[in-house]
C-alpha cells in the first residue's frame, strides 16, 4: 500500500466515522464533514464550469469577432450580465429578463417533452394492449397479458379518482358519488403498492451503499494489516 493510499484511506475512514457520529446527535464532527463535502463540491463545480462552459462556450467564441459563434455568444453574455445585476438593488428588475427567458424556455420544453415523451406513449401503450389487431395476432388468448392490461387501466383510472376525491375533500365538498369513493379506495391500494415498492427500493439502495462503504473499510484495514 502506497503512502497516498494510506492517507486517503485514513481520511476516508475519519470522514465516514464523522458522518456516522450523527447517530449520537447532530454534532460538530458531522457538521465539519458536511461542510467539507459542500465546500469541496462547490469548488470542484466552479472550476469545472469555468473550464467546460465559460471558457469554451463564452470566452473562446468572443475572441473570434465577426463569426457566427461570436454573435451567438453575445446572447448568453448579455443575459449573464443582466442576471448579475440582480446582485444590486437597482438592477434587480433587469435581472428578471434572463429569468423570464429561462423559465419560459423551460416551461415550453417541459410541456412539449412531457407530451411527446410521456403522455402520448403511455396512453398509446394502454390502448395498444386492447387493440383487436394485437389480440388477434396471437394464436391463443394471452390471458396474462389481458389481465395485465386491465390492471393497468383500472390503476390509472382509480388513482385519478383518488386524487379527484381528495381534492373534493380538501375543498369541503362532501357530496362525492359512491362510484368515485369506491374508485378512490381502489386507487389508494394501487398507490400503497407503488409507495411500498419505492420504499423497498430505497432501503435496498441504502443497504447496498452501506455494504459497499463497509467493504471498502474492511478492505483498507486488511490491506493495512496485511502489509
Amino acid at each position: 500500500m502506497s503512502s497516498a493510499d494510506l492517507i486517503l484511506g485514513l481520511v476516508g475512514l475519519a470522514l465516514t466515522l464523522m458522518i456516522f457520529s450523527y447517530l449520537i446527535k447532530d454534532n460538530v464532527f458531522f457538521g465539519i464533514a458536511l461542510y467539507l463535502l459542500v465546500g469541496v463540491g462547490t469548488g470542484f463545480a466552479t472550476l469545472l464550469i469555468i473550464r467546460s462552459v465559460i471558457l469554451p462556450m463564452l470566452i473562446k467564441p468572443l475572441t473570434q469577432p465577426g463569426t457566427q459563434a461570436f454573435y451567438l455568444a453575445l446572447v448568453p453574455l448579455i443575459l449573464s450580465v443582466l442576471l448579475a445585476l440582480m446582485l444590486f438593488k437597482r438592477g434587480s428588475r433587469m435581472g428578471r429578463i434572463p429569468l423570464a427567458f429561462l423559465v419560459g424556455a423551460m416551461a415550453a420544453m417541459a410541456l412539449i417533452g412531457i407530451s411527446r415523451g410521456t403522455l402520448a406513449p403511455q396512453l398509446l401503450s394502454v390502448f395498444h394492449r386492447f387493440s383487436p389487431g394485437v389480440v388477434a395476432s396471437y394464436s391463443t388468448i394471452r390471458w396474462w397479458g389481458l389481465v395485465e392490461a386491465i390492471a393497468i387501466l383500472i390503476g390509472v383510472v382509480a388513482v385519478l379518482a383518488f386524487f379527484r376525491e381528495r381534492q373534493e375533500k380538501l375543498s369541503g365538498q362532501s357530496d362525492s358519488s359512491a362510484v368515485l369513493k369506491g374508485m378512490s379506495k381502489v386507487g389508494q391500494i394501487f398507490l400503497g403498492i407503488s409507495f411500498g415498492g419505492l420504499f423497498v427500493g430505497l432501503m435496498s439502495s441504502a443497504l447496498i451503499a452501506l455494504i459497499g462503504n463497509l467493504s471498502e473499510i474492511v478492505t483498507f484495514f486488511s490491506r493495512l494489516l496485511g502489509g
Binding site: L23, K25, L214
Partner: protein, 621 residues
C-alpha cells in the same frame, strides 16, 4: 327614502306635504313662508323669543362686563349692525327678519359667554403668577414621590410568587379567587375554601402594600346586612374597562351613597395611593368650574381673605385633577395587566424563539451500531455468494438478450448521471456489461450529465478492468454535458446541419453515430428527461438503462410502453454473471434480513404507542 328623516310641512291650500324649508308648495304653488322653519328649530311664541337671550344670561357676566368694560366696541358695533340690519332692508320678508334676529341673539349669547370665560382665565393667570413656581416645585415633588412608590411596587410584583402544592402561583390563585369563572357552582366555591375572607384580606394587605385600602365602614355595614356578598375589594376601573365589573359597580354605587365621612376618608386615601373607592368619581364639570367661588371672587376682588380662600380652592381643584389623571393612568396599566393574566391563564407557556435542543438518542445509537456491527461480521465471515438468480425478471432477460445482440459494428453511447453514494450499486451492475462490450470489441463512448461523473468514471473503469487498457488519452473518458435537459435537447438536434452549434460544443459526440444508448443513472428524472427530450428526435436510437433500485419502480412504465428496451436495477444484475467481486450477495441478504426485523419491531412499537394512526385531512371551510 331620503325624506324619511326630514320633517315635513303641510300646505294649507292643497293639504299635501312639503319639506320644511320650502317657501312655495311644490304641488299647488301656494306660498308657505309662514310655515317656513329650519330643521331642528324650536318654535316659540314671539314674545318669549324676543326676551330669551337677555333673560337667560348670567347676571355676573353682565356685571363683569360693566365693571371691566371689556366688551369690545366692535361687538357693540356689530350688535348695532345686527339690530339695524333688518331695518336696513325693509323689503325683506318677516320670516327672514325673524331668522336674522334669532341668529343675532344666539351670537350675542355665545359671545358674552366666551368673553366671560376669557376674563376668568385671565384673572386666574394673574393670581397664579405669584406662587406658580412654588406650586410647580411642590407638584414635581409629588410626582417624584409617586414615581418612586410605583417603582417599589413594581419591584415587589416582579418577585417570584410562591407556588402551592399543585404548582399554581399565588397571583393566579388570587385572580381566580377574585374572578370566579362563569358556571362555577357554589359547591366549587366551597371547595375553594383555602381562601377565607381573612386570608384574602391578609393577602391583599401583603400584596398591595401601600395601595391597600381598608374597607370603609358603610361597606362593612352593608356586608353585615348582606353576608352573602363576598366582594369586598372594589377596584376603581376606568370607564373604558367598566365591562369587567359591571354588576359589582352598580351594586356598590347603589349601596354606598357618598357621605361626608366617607368622602373625607376617600379623599385622604386617594392622596397617597392610586387605588380609590368607586364612590370617588371624577370631578364634575360644575366642580371644576366652580361658579359660586368665582362669583364671590369677582364680587370682592380686593378682599385678601377671599383671595386666599379662592387660591386654596383652586389648588385643591388642581390637585384633584392631577390625582385623577394619575389614577387613571395607573388603573389603565393594572387593568391591562389583569386582562393579560386572565387571557393567558389557560394557554401554554410562551417559548417563542427557543428551539428544543436535539436530545441524545441512545436508542438510535445502539441500533445503528448494532446494524453496522452485524454487517461487519457478515462481511468478514460470510462466504461470497453467487449472483445467479433462479428466476430472473423480464427486464433482466431482455437486457441480456439485447446485449448479446449488439454486434461489433454497432456503437454504444454510455450516459452517466449518478452520485457517489450510488456508485457501489451501479458499478456492480455496470461492470459486467462494460466487460462484455469490451470483450466483443464494440466501440463505445461516454458522456456525463453530472460533474462528479468525471472522476466516478475512473472508479468504474478500474473495476471493469478497462482503465489500464484505455490509458489516459482516450475518447472513452466521459465528456461533461453542461445544461441538463437543455443540453439533451440541443444534442438531439442534428448537429451536422448546424455548424455554429458544433463550434460551441466541439467534443460532444454526434448521436447519429450511435445505435444504442446505455443510461447509467440513479435518478428516474434523468431517464425521463432523456426519453422526453432526446428519444422523440432520434427514432433509430435504442435505449437500455442501468438504474438504482430505488428508481426501478418509476421507470417501469417506460419499459412496459417499449420506450426502454430493457433495464437492470439493484440486486438484479445480468443473469448468469457474477457480481460478487463488487457486492457480496450473502451480506446483502443478511442486511435485508436485519432491516426487515428492525422494521417489524418498529411497526409493533409504534402501534403500541398509537403512532400509526393516519392524520386527518384538513378540510378548508
Amino acid at each position: 327614502m331620503m325624506t324619511d328623516d326630514l320633517s315635513m310641512q303641510t300646505c294649507p291650500k292643497c293639504g299635501k306635504e312639503n319639506l320644511t324649508h320650502m317657501t312655495r308648495c311644490v304641488h299647488c304653488g301656494n306660498e308657505l313662508e309662514d310655515l317656513f322653519s329650519f330643521d331642528g328649530q324650536i318654535e316659540l311664541p314671539d314674545d318669549e323669543n324676543k326676551d330669551e337671550p337677555i333673560s337667560n344670561l348670567p347676571l355676573f357676566l353682565e356685571e363683569m362686563s360693566n365693571q371691566t368694560n371689556l366688551i369690545d366696541e366692535d361687538d357693540s358695533e356689530s350688535d348695532e349692525d345686527g339690530e339695524a340690519s333688518p331695518k336696513s332692508d325693509p323689503n325683506a320678508p318677516d320670516w327672514l327678519a325673524r331668522v336674522r334676529e334669532r341668529v343675532r341673539a344666539e351670537e350675542d349669547a355665545s359671545g358674552e359667554l366666551t368673553k366671560g370665560l376669557k376674563v376668568i382665565e385671565e384673572k386666574l393667570e394673574d393670581d397664579n403668577k405669584e406662587d406658580s413656581e412654588k406650586q410647580y416645585q411642590a407638584w414635581l415633588d409629588e410626582v417624584r414621590k409617586d414615581a418612586e412608590a410605583e417603582e417599589e411596587k413594581r419591584a415587589r410584583r416582579l418577585r417570584p410568587s410562591p407556588v402551592d402544592d399543585q404548582g399554581v402561583p399565588e397571583w393566579l390563585r388570587r385572580i381566580r379567587a377574585l374572578h370566579p369563572k362563569e358556571g362555577e357552582t357554589d359547591e366549587d366555591n366551597e371547595n375553594f375554601d383555602e381562601w377565607t375572607e381573612e386570608e384574602l384580606e391578609a393577602l391583599r394587605r401583603q400584596e398591595l402594600g401601600d395601595d391597600y385600602v381598608e374597607e370603609s365602614e358603610p361597606i362593612e355595614e352593608l356586608e353585615e346586612d348582606e353576608p352573602e356578598s363576598d366582594e369586598k375589594i372594589v377596584h376603581n376601573i376606568p370607564e373604558d374597562d367598566e365591562d369587567l365589573l359591571p354588576d359589582r359597580e352598580e351594586k356598590q354605587n347603589e349601596a354606598t351613597p357618598p357621605t361626608d365621612a366617607t368622602e373625607a376618608e376617600q379623599e385622604a386615601l386617594s392622596d397617597d395611593s392610586q387605588f380609590v373607592l368607586l364612590s370617588e368619581t371624577k370631578l364634575k364639570a360644575e366642580e371644576v368650574f366652580n361658579t359660586d367661588a368665582l362669583d364671590g371672587l369677582l364680587e370682592n376682588t380686593d378682599d385678601a381673605k377671599d383671595e386666599k380662600a379662592e387660591r386654596k380652592a383652586r389648588a385643591k381643584e388642581k390637585e384633584a385633577i392631577i390625582q385623577d389623571l394619575l389614577i387613571l393612568r395607573g388603573q389603565h396599566e393594572k387593568v391591562a395587566l389583569l386582562k393579560t393574566l386572565i387571557s393567558d391563564e389557560s394557554r401554554p407557556p410562551r417559548t417563542a424563539g427557543k428551539t428544543a435542543e436535539p436530545k441524545m438518542t441512545w436508542t438510535r445509537l445502539i441500533i445503528g451500531l448494532a446494524v453496522i456491527g452485524l454487517l461487519l461480521l457478515a462481511i468478514l465471515f460470510l462466504p461470497s455468494g453467487t449472483a445467479k438468480n433462479p428466476l430472473p425478471s423480464m427486464p433482466q432477460l431482455r437486457f441480456a438478450r439485447y446485449l448479446d445482440g449488439i454486434t461489433p459494428d454497432k456503437q454504444v453511447l454510455l450516459v452517466m448521471s449518478y452520485y457517489s453514494a450510488s456508485a457501489p450499486e451501479l458499478e456492480a451492475l455496470a461492470t459486467p456489461v462494460l466487460k462484455q462490450l469490451d470483450e466483443k470489441g464494440i466501440d463505445w463512448q461516454a458522456i456525463t450529465l453530472r460533474m462528479d461523473g468525471l472522476w466516478l468514471a475512473e472508479s468504474l473503469y478500474k473495476k471493469a478492468g478497462l482503465y489500464d487498457k484505455m490509458g489516459l488519452n482516450t475518447a472513452r473518458f466521459p465528456v461533461f454535458l453542461a445544461g441538463g435537459q437543455f443540453a439533451m435537447l440541443d444534442m438531439s438536434i442534428n448537429q451536422k446541419d448546424k455548424p455554429a452549434q458544433s463550434l460551441l460544443q466541439e467534443n460532444l459526440p454526434q448521436l447519429e453515430d450511435f445505435d444504442y444508448v446505455l443510461l447509467l443513472t440513479d435518478s428516474s428524472l434523468t431517464v425521463r428527461g432523456w426519453l422526453e427530450q432526446v428519444a422523440p428526435n432520434q427514432d433509430s436510437l435504442y435505449t437500455l438503462a442501468i438504474v438504482s433500485q430505488k428508481e426501478a419502480v418509476a421507470i417501469q412504465p417506460y419499459f412496459y410502453s417499449g420506450q426502454i428496451l430493457a433495464y437492470l436495477s439493484g440486486n438484479q444484475g445480468l443473469p448468469d454473471t457474477e457480481t460478487q467481486a463488487v457486492l457480496n450477495q450473502n451480506v446483502y441478504k443478511a442486511g435485508m434480513a436485519i432491516i426487515l426485523v428492525l422494521f417489524v419491531i418498529a411497526v409493533f412499537y409504534n402501534a403500541k404507542h398509537g403512532r400509526l394512526e393516519r392524520p386527518e385531512i384538513e378540510v378548508s371551510k
